[in-house]
Symmetry: C2
Subunit: 120 residues, 2 copies
């Protein structure tokens, strides 16, 4: 992927949106397909009343809430979310995010997860 060595700027709207279990929607902004070696940045939106998948997996998430309000379940605990909150979810911790208002967030995963989830 020689062209990735130049880097790039793209707009959110250029990226196809996919639906996740729970009704959240995801855009894979930067992945190994772009030449990213270590981690993958995704943009996730959740409509009021919908949520992200309720699950655990062996890789971590780092999430920043850009807009909206909701709550995250981390193991047995629930915490409130709003713009400016951020979340560290280590590997193997059960989690889901439920939207009480339309939400948008950045969610970063390791490249090994991107390859797994995108089937590469």
């Amino acid at each position: 992927m020689a062209e990735s060595l130049k880097g790039f700027v793209k707009n959110l709207e250029e990226i196809e949106e996919m639906e996740m279990d729970g009704g959240a929607r995801i855009r894979w902004l930067i992945t190994h397909r772009d030449g990213a070696p270590t981690f993958s940045m995704r943009y996730i939106t959740i409509e009021k009343g919908k949520e992200t998948p309720a699950h655990a997996h062996d890789y971590e998430h780092e999430i920043f809430i850009i807009k909206g309000k909701g709550e995250v379940t981390l193991g047995n605990e629930k915490k409130e979310l709003k713009e400016g909150k951020f979340i560290f979810i280590p590997g193997n911790l059960f989690h889901k995010i439920h939207a009480n208002e339309d939400m948008a967030m950045i969610c970063v995963v390791p490249i090994k997860a991107a390859k797994l989830l995108l089937g590469d």
Copy 2:
């Protein structure tokens, strides 16, 4: 760091802000100090007229613009930035971001860069 295995939710304002070369300001939201194994999420603000350091390094950036307008220099090219744009900067590419309005963004780096930059 046993407690990090529970994960956490924090607010931007809880994190100390540090000044960077060029006048941008950075908050290290999630790092190896929290138990993050792979990558580190930072929140960077740039006041109108100021900029991030102008440099190259051997690790990559993945950046999402949350608010404001400006321009990024990638090697010899300049590209316009605004809310919803995102940037992949591969290792060893010269770069800087200049703000034409007050800007805020998420910028992710590998943990090896976090350790280097935080002196750990």
